[in-house]
Assembly symmetry: C2
Homo-oligomer: 548 residues x 2
């Protein structure tokens, strides 16, 4: 490890400023390109994204070369960063993104003559980018690098920015596609209120005089296919972003022990320690939900008369599912009231980010729900659908709230077996030991007296170091059941919006109340966060399952 930097925040400031400026430029171009009447073409956006991805690939190659050549560059590895399920998910979504890139290349190659070259170049470069970045994150997600601090920070922030820009572009592209299918389903493709009207050439619709129609079967398949693969690309970018952020936080970080004290879960007992009730009920809901989703899609995309029935089915299933999830999360929080495991107060950038993302991403669904509630309560309709909509919105808020409380409390518990010794008093609130444990964290800082840092094995008696044999206590089993049940429910609630269920528009209450353009803006901005919340909750619940 080289010489230490004097002021860490100053080093971070520079990279954040770089990221903010690049991101805002990308955001401006992408949002400008989404509007038909604005003279920003999607080729501009593609050119920007391609340039960013090329630069990122170059930086990653430089980083990998440097760390291979210089063995001192990474003296510590953060065991909390890049857990196996996150990296596994990244590879899975990366493969789906590669398939999407193949479809996209095929789609744009179908009318090669009247396309600019950048549209075919873009998916190819993206494929290279995905391969290089996935390898990079798989290998280096745990690194705490200690050379070229400022350059590494800027590089990581630029890579993060690239991923966020790709995410924004994908979300905007999907919203444009949704708006197009909405307006063509309602037969008013030339209305003025559809603000996100798609580029006719891009959507391949049969507008008279379009020189490049997408009318061959293979082209249609490519087009359909790549829109169904968008959710995976979106999740890939977000997964990569979270891992890059943790790497950025870990630049120049010093850890007490170079080998860490990670809690390694026992791999063998995957389902043995549950009561089976949670996974069973979750699986039933998952299968029923899948059926409901398919029925809903068929009925809504069919003739208009059966939309009402589809909505009733959809809302009823969601209300039951959300109600059960709320109750289960609540009972999980109640179990923790009887749990005597100590709270884990250690600094952990991964966990801090997880908590912030869970709270932040929930805002998207909160906002949609509150707008729905106001529309139903203030608006006139007093029918079955209005009541279902209201119940759905209220339960959505309750479910997000209680699930967040449960997950966040779970993540802050120490590992099993690290229960306080019998010498300690039972009530933590009365214990002087606990008071001072907390007080130490609240002190201004560690005393800045010169002391050499050595990986001292006899240093802090970390809770994680004490791994007793896991006992199959009923509380642990209950918690495992709860986390598996919530996990499966979150998966089905992710699938529905991610693959195109939009009851927000099939249901006319909000569209009539707010007008199409305002409601479309609200949903298109907030729903991506809601979808990301589900994905992120799944990965957090997997962690809860393993750790509890």
């Amino acid at each position: 490890a080289g010489p230490r930097e004097v002021w860490k925040k100053g080093g971070r400031l520079l990279s954040v400023l770089l990221a903010v400026n690049v991101l805002l430029l990308a955001c401006t171009l992408i949002s400008g390109g989404a509007f038909n009447k604005v003279a920003v073409y999607d080729t501009d956006v593609f050119a920007l994204l391609t340039t960013m991805m090329l630069l990122t690939v170059l930086w990653i190659l430089f980083y990998l070369l440097r760390t291979v050549r210089c063995p001192d560059a990474v003296p510590y590895r953060d065991t909390h960063a890049g857990p196996i399920w996150l990296r596994g998910g990244l590879v899975l979504f990366g493969i789906c993104t590669l398939v999407m890139d193949v479809f996209k290349t095929g789609y744009y190659s179908s009318f090669f003559e009247c396309q600019s070259a950048i549209k075919i170049l873009h998916p190819l470069i993206q494929a290279v980018f995905v391969i290089v970045q996935t390898y990079f994150l798989w290998v280096s997600a745990k690194d705490c690098i200690h050379v070229h601090l400022d350059l590494t920070r800027c590089g990581l922030m630029f890579t993060l920015t690239t991923n966020l820009a790709i995410w924004m572009a994908a979300v905007v592209d999907e919203s444009v596609h949704q708006a197009h299918s909405y307006s063509s389903a309602h037969g008013n493709s030339n209305t003025s209120h559809a603000r996100l009207t798609p580029d006719p050439e891009r959507a391949g619709s049969a507008v008279g005089g379009d020189p490049c129609p997408c009318d061959t079967t293979i082209c249609q398949i490519f087009q359909q296919g790549y829109f169904y693969l968008y959710p995976f690309n979106i999740e890939y970018s977000l997964f990569a972003s979270t891992m890059l952020y943790v790497m950025w936080k870990n630049v120049g970080r010093l850890l007490a022990s170079p080998h860490g004290h990670g809690h390694i879960p026992s791999q063998v007992s995957l389902f043995r320690e549950t009561f089976f009730a949670g996974p069973m009920l979750g699986l039933v809901l998952f299968v029923v939900g899948l059926a409901v989703f398919i029925i809903y899609e068929v009925q809504v995309s069919g003739e208009g008369g059966r939309t009402q029935q589809a909505l009733v089915t959809y809302y009823s299933f969601n209300i039951i599912c959300l109600g059960l999830m709320t109750l289960v999360s609540l009972s999980g929080s109640v179990i923790y009231r009887f749990d005597r495991r100590v709270m884990d107060h250690h600094k952990n950038p991964t966990r801090t980010l997880d908590v912030a993302l869970l709270m932040g991403a929930a805002l998207g669904q909160y906002a949609i729900s509150y707008y729905s509630i106001v529309a139903v309560v203030v608006g006139t309709p007093r029918d079955l659908l209005g009541a279902l909509n209201l119940a759905h919105a209220l339960l959505m808020i309750a479910q997000h709230t209680f699930q967040n409380v449960f997950i966040i409390e779970s993540l802050h518990r120490g590992p099993p077996g690290a229960e306080p010794q019998e010498t300690l008093p039972k009530e933590p609130c009365q214990g002087l030991t606990f008071a001072n444990l907390d007080a130490l964290h609240s002190l201004p800082a560690c005393p800045p007296t010169p002391r050499l840092v050595s990986p001292s094995p006899d240093g802090p008696q970390e809770a994680g170091a004490i791994i007793l044999a896991p006992r199959g206590h009923w509380r642990r089993r209950c918690l495992k059941d709860i986390s598996l049940f919530l996990l499966l429910c979150n998966v089905i609630l992710w699938i529905m919006p991610a693959f195109g269920a939009r009851p927000h528009f099939s249901n006319t209450v909000e569209v009539d109340f707010y007008g199409y353009s305002l409601w479309a803006a609200i949903v298109n901005i907030c729903l991506p966060f809601g979808i990301f919340y589900r994905m992120h909750a799944v990965s957090s619940l997997l962690e809860v399952y393993v750790l509890s």
Copy 2:
């Protein structure tokens, strides 16, 4: 101090969830009420705000009673929280808000017969709220309270939410007013693109058949007056919010010493330690700016032919001002490269918040600038005004960036005189002492071994404790000059947009490029943050001036 809490984050979680939900409900109602065709009336918004203010006043009274009765409730006081200029600004803006409430009451009383009672009740309750809250913050801004932790956190968060809701309502009301004056100035008051069309009754326009016209002179004065006082109300809410946030962070905080180690500036040498060049140049720019602003307002609100000329004057002044500020901030950062004062690594919620607000609020102006740049670069016009607009946008980005870097670095410097002793090596990068000082902060946490916390005067050798006699070094003088110059420039750049200069709409480049509704949405969302940035930069620069 009562028993310590086991898990501080859990206590905070509850209050954040409460705040998020209340804020989103308020946000929904306020944004819904801003649109004419949405059936949310402004009486609903007024009723919600009045209820929130009443609840807040009750909680504040309860808090004040409790802390007076129980002397153990506040064992520590955070000396960094609520500095005198922040509290002074709060009182000043509070008084202006009271004047605004008087005007508002007068305005609504002018047509008492056809108004609902809530519209007159609202400013009266707001006056009570402002008085009670200002007293509360003046007295308790530094408190680190240690009783009823969860209740206090929820109360503080609710008060914060109330202030943010009032801020949102004021911003929306002002945007509605701006949109109305824009559409009436352009003679198209019934166009469909003016989405924020004002309520005819509220704006008091002479629509045929309006039963309650505001046509008496006194009513007109009241109406004009309260719109000019809105900027102060907006700043009052934001000042109160920042102080409440710091109080919330300080709930349950333990400090090493109950009396703190604040750096008390020498009051006598207010201007003696500067070269006078900074304040003089700043004052010149301030006066010229005021003249430019008045000329601009007169020319724009007059006949349309002189708008072009007014814009050229406005942009030219801004370009000169921003260019000078950029250069001066840069030179300030260069001076710090030669400065040997140590960095202050102590935990300080006030400073962390200041930095986050400076960075976050700058995003508003960044976004506007990037949208302008794209419009000018991609759009066709290649005339003088386009060039001026482009230069203005680019300089705006540069100025915000370099000013933020300068302020953030200044806030992290230790107080003057705390320069490293001569025994330490000159180059910090080579010094082992610095390395370990930083290394200690990067360690996972303080060792959680049981230890009693005592206010130990011989504990950490804090940099702030060493206050030597301030020496009139040229670097200090330069820094004081720089901060005063930047302060005055920020004041004039605050006055212009806060009191209604909107070159964004007078200038037709962006309106033509993005369309009125999109551009109005961008400006109306981002500009309040830009205005808040100026105000906040002023208070931060005052701190830099005092501390350097």
